[in-house]
Amino acid sequence: MAKSLGIFVTNPDNFAHVLGITKAAKAKGSKVKVFFTWTATHNAKDQAFPELCELADDVSICVDSYKKQGYDIEDIPQGLTAKEMATQAQHGIIIEDYDCYISL
């Protein structure tokens, strides 16, 4: 059984790495959770973001960061649901519940 992997994203320029690592981990049968915060919430508007949401088991963003980056919190990015517009608690879940961790 493959290990599970949590990815914490704080750099807006690393989306290609997020996607690449998620694809590789899923190909190995891993469970993957991704959480975006601060300026990395801009990634939710990347055209490949819905693909990431399809691939990963769980994707969420920090709603407070999203708002501070100038977005309307009613404008839920494609691929997410309202409950995935979340808080830093998601980062805590990654650390506590996933076998492996990487920040990007």
């Binding site: 290990k3 992997l5 750099n11 690393n14 790495h17 690449g20 694809k23 891993s30 961790y101 920040s103």
Partner: protein, 57 residues
């Protein structure tokens, strides 16, 4: 304890110093994420093999 150091850009002196201290007397590995077309498959294997992954800027 096995530490994996992932570099998103070429490590500067500050990062090199921190890595030197963190990996002292420990098993360690590294992966360069800043080259063209990184091998994500290899990176994920290394992450799974390590006890801790640090992804430097």
């Amino acid at each position: 304890m096995k530490v994996l150091n992932v570099y998103r850009s070429e490590p500067d002196e500050t990062v090199k110093k921190l890595v030197e201290i963190v990996t002292r007397d420990r098993d360690s590995d590294s992966f360069d994420l800043y080259g063209a077309s990184p091998d994500y498959d290899t990176l994920v294997d290394k992450i799974f093999d390590a006890d801790q992954t640090i992804c430097w800027w």
